[in-house]
Symmetry: D4
Subunit: 238 residues, 8 copies
């Protein structure tokens, strides 16, 4: 369409969150153009991104072809595993906030989503503690790892299949828990719907849930909790 | 309809299970007539029940009015709580098999279903170990109770809401686990569908699931596991 | 069932949250007995509640009959409106934490759920800013009210029907947003499912969602965000 | 099947709407043959199209291969972007009606559907005002663009994900609003179902909705509103 | 909640539509109070309605008790049939616009919804042509009635069960068609979902659909089409 | 609505089927008035029924109050059991066609639906063979009854729960099978949806299915098969 | 699995229907082997087919590769169009029964399913009248074609999208109607579910429905209606 | 993620079940590495498997590429058919337990799932009786095969489409029945959901169900029933 794009130029100023490049609905060329533009700190036109100059850059759900092209553009990216057929990349991080979140994943199959979350949080300047393979079918692994969560301020719990991990966690710790259902599994996993419903209906109090496979959204939710009230974002890390 | 009813007269002989009186789709009068007939050991006509003479008698999902009328007919029944708007009653039990099952319920709201299961198992001659209030939001209650399960041969796990109890159990014990989702909860509990899906999709291996609120069916499944191969049922307890 | 109840006696110590009395699956007598027991600070038996002595008391989803009986027991309760056929009551509050949340409701029909959330937060010692009638069909009402949100640390957004309120909010403010879909509406509202899906799929970043009509769960999620890391709960308000 | 095709020869006369060539269920050869036939103004055989001679020609949901072949046949087509894996083409337009519609799209991912709508409206002789990137997460972009809608007679609002755009619009403007849910998004977007349900359940009055991704249907609905009562279509533009 | 209600006082000015009183989520007393207030042309407090003084008054989905109380308050209301367990009432109408809509209902069971639509349209000053019993199982009834539609500008088609009426209509007439699925039927009617899906997926071009049973919403959609561009509403009929 | 009702006066002439009185969406008074009118053979006004004079009369899904009132009006009705909360009544039958259908029901709970089917078929002049209690859990009952089906021309198979009866039947007999899923059961029976899906997906060839609980529709489908090609209906039995 | 296959050798004797070769779940080699074996009239091993020697042969849902290989094996097959990505083939037909069915398809996209039905009916010895492009959006095409249906004994109505064709037909003709929903369409067509629900819920009496895209099943249902009671199948056509 | 993997090293000790290698979410290289490691009896790192040394090895849902690579690694595997696009492989079996299970499959299309179950059971040391092609549409095949089930202790019933096989079985035999719904079928089979619902809702008592296509889970459930209480696993077969 030939209409002039209407940029959301001050999203960062309003809500302290830059827009990510959601690769899934874009061509390789579009992805590369947007990242090149953001890296150059210039004002882009023709896309919906409206991040402030110099802000963190995150690209989510990149296909293998997009992943290769983006690494070619600027190889020194932080990258997550591409095991689920899509990957996350991040280039520029904000300066450290001195705050810590945990990303806790039930199984190895959940790592693509967990990495999307971790890289986004790190790009926003937070430290991330990572726990994997703590599914509730081997409960002692989770119980043994609990001390590692003592000093984190927010926990993102990532799980597919029956999605019981955040329920068990929420009965054991007092921190905020953001639950991310993943589309891992087959048959009655119903592409993550079972995990989603299970998390929404938990018998443990105070779990808040984001959309299926939405590691980026979980990171944004956690970021809203980690930034102190009234904090002004003061520019990118240098 | 005026057609002659075709009784399933030898169900007990074939599959060693009597039919229960499923009260929900019957009038008070029909329920009373069937139980009176079964208590008299006579051959009934006009109903679908075809249990052998003297076999166990179980009535499930009795409304308060049915419950009152059945207790009036023969007050010395074994009864479960009517907290869910329906109750289970049982009159005649088979002789003891010397075998033990456990019925494990996540919350007090699951007791109506758990009782339907327990009374059915007891009517079939089995001993039942009962654990309640062992929901996974208070994990230590379940862990503390595990030794009570050491000597049971089959575990029926009853849970509503997110239904995580059988998943946690199945990672801790080696016995057969029959999971019963209950319609406890509101909103995203979706009348037991969430618990059902969660149990079917468990990351823990070897959980077998029966229908929502089907405590009777879980007892029948457990009974199939408790009877030794080739066992011949040798008549009612006297 | 005759098994001894296994109380979750130290839930408050572990996760700093008392159990609420969920009235829906209990008789009037059970509700009254539990509240009387909690008010007496004694140790209760036979229920699943295991709050520490003197902790906040909240009863949710009370039917009109339960509501009357509970007010008869102790009339000086804090109460929410019973417009949705059920109501929330609260008796004892924790001492003030000096922290503030907002409960923002799209329409008057959402007030029963919003009150469940507000009363729970207040019982936990937090101050609550309340905004109602800020549905997005009359956008200026929401825009006019934004300054009232400047000093709150967490926002709970309650909406039924199409559930667009948290989406619009999340593009305007930087605080954590806990979204509560309500079962308000008919037809394609599908008892809150439409609002739930809409909130999970928001184009605005960082919304975390709790179950349909789960005002209590939203308050618990907000409470997890409002308590400082490492805070020890030091007993009830006196 | 060898039966003679029964053409809907006078659809345009009856309802003033030509049939579009819906490419998705046709081979490349079939698409080319139909368009060649329509361009020649001849009577076609073997297809369901029954447009009058010389009427507007629109092909929707063309695959890349169909797109290439149709452009090869007659390169001077009006075309929309193929970003969603399918594209719209249009060749012959009716003479101008002097009326104006707006097509308003929430995000860049909605452009394939928005273009299908715009090209169809233009082929029917209407002027189309296009607004993109006006998603409600950046509300000011929409508010800034409102004056552009002052003179349009019908608004088509295209949105995926949570689909809140038409709800916000309907509280701000008085014109007819035709909402088109798109299958943009993943996870809980459920291929457009969430946007569809959200639009059907809007708290704002008077939104009418067409099927998921049905930009052509939205254009037809808008066309029915733009043609004056009793208007006789008087042949193609020359 | 004690927060001051934020009225949408200028809805009529913005979108030329007053808010209806949606009785379903209100007590009898609340309904009576709002209508009394509106009849007195005064500014109300404590509700979400914000219609201009003297505007049309419509109450939808009134229960029998609400219906009686509202008629007691002011007996000279226009009323629809209460056959579906709820009814519509209207008191004050805008002056005539000189424009005409048709409300076409498939069966007698659809009349409650059809009346909600007709009374709302009439309250907004439009003339309404009404056709009933034109379900497609007796096609000739619909074909015979077609001439009655020649002079209407918008058609609202109301149907439950399989919802085929708007599809057949849309192949026969050129006017805008707003389709309203109703919850009439049982079993696979699924409370209107089948009719809704059928209408959204019509093989006939240009049907726009509102929510299940939403006669009020259909009237609002039709009203948006009936008011000429730029029309200023000039006060109530006197 | 004040529009003149458009009667389907020649339905019987066109499709040889009278309309039934579907009581569910009508008041007691409306039901009585329609039946009184039909009994008087007069032409009725204000309803959708358009049966020829003297044709069969069937009322379906009558509530207990409607049932009483209709029997009061004319006590010599043929009636089915009201066990499912609704009942079927029939007054005037067509003359015998000399043809025979079977209605086969899986359980006693399916009798309300089976009776609706049987009475409708009998009112149309067919003989009906009835088999009940032939659920597939007691297979021998069905196998024993097979000879009774040898001379029937069409079989209507009625079943709830898992709905396996028509599948087993279709592997054993060569006649047409019309399957009727019923809403019998609870939990995963999902109000008949499970039976419906099971019947639609049968591994046995040639089962045709009608809607949930639609005994009347099954009778109409069977009637279409029982009437010889070109048969002219020649008036009621006298 | 190495177990000996248990053939259903006398299916034709029992229910007068041969098994079709359902290609979708088989390799090319398996399909070719089965058809070669059937053509040779020998007894096959290792498959589930158990048709009598010399009976009709039908292969359904053949992929392009299977289609090619089967035509290579024996080129003189009757074949349907492969427009939907799969095709039907038939080789040996039973001798003529002298009876006639009609297959009526709403649109060209439904032809793959319609052909599966037609070829199966012809292989069973019936004559088939075919009508296509009679969708209800162009009603006169259907009305004009009605005389062609006068002499058919059963009508199979095939339609996708909103599936209204059998509903309109059932109000116009008295013959049995077997409705086949197809997965034609996108978005709210939901892969044929919308058409299925619409057909099950029809306001027209006596429609019987088979599974989505199940042209073979519809033919079997029609065949059950076309064979006279007691007819013995007397071997293949020669 | 760089966090150290937390192995479930003593799963076999706790629940007597090794973890299978679920290939679907792994690369070919990952699958080969895990199996090589397990074959070498060494302790692996970086995966979630934590089986004891020398335990049985089973790989499920291997794609053709994974299947080839795994056979290349160690060709003397036990393998199942790859007809469903994925296959099962097993290398090392536990010593014989002297117990017997049956795997009963409705159709040839169910063999991939049935083999996953059979190979897993055999790897755990059990003997497996296999019955195939015993779908209920050819009932006599099942009835003829019943004597083969006399000496098995547990029956796994595998079926797709309408899933009636376990229902019929459960009315005929007294052993435990584990039902496995498969995703065989198209249209209303809904990827196995119909079979799942049918099995959960069976009118026959005591069926326990595992997830769709979950042959491995069914084997684990059966294994829990086959191991005697208190049995200690004493190492691999040599």
């Amino acid at each position: 369409m030939d209409a002039e794009a209407r940029l959301d130029r001050d999203r960062t100023r309003r809500i302290d969150l830059p827009e990510a490049i959601y690769c899934q609905s874009k061509t390789v060329e579009q992805c590369v153009a947007i990242v090149r533009d953001l890296l150059a700190d210039g004002h882009r036109s023709g896309t919906a991104n409206g991040n402030g100059p110099g802000d963190a850059i995150v690209a989510t759900r990149a296909t293998p072809a997009q992943y290769e092209a983006l690494l070619d553009l600027k190889p020194d990216a932080f990258v997550g595993p591409a095991t689920a057929g899509h990957a996350t990349l991040s280039w520029r991080h904000r300066s450290s906030t001195g705050r810590t979140a945990a990303v806790v994943a039930a199984g190895t199959s959940d790592l693509a989503v967990a990495s999307e979350c971790r890289l986004t949080l790190e790009s926003l300047g937070h430290r991330v503690e990572t726990l994997t393979d703590v599914g509730v079918a081997g409960l002692h692994r989770l119980l043994d790892a609990l001390p590692l969560l003592d000093d984190v301020e927010v926990i993102v719990a990532v799980a597919g299949m029956e999605g019981a991990l955040p329920t068990v966690l929420a009965g054991l710790v007092a921190q905020p828990i953001v639950a991310v259902p993943t589309s891992v599994g087959y048959g009655t996993a119903f592409e993550g719907q079972t995990a989603l419903l299970s998390m929404m209906t938990s018998c443990a109090p105070g779990i808040a849930v984001v959309g299926i496979d939405n590691g980026y959204g979980a990171a944004c939710a956690a970021h809203r909790m980690l930034r102190p009230l009234g904090l002004e974002w003061d520019g990118p890390a240098t």
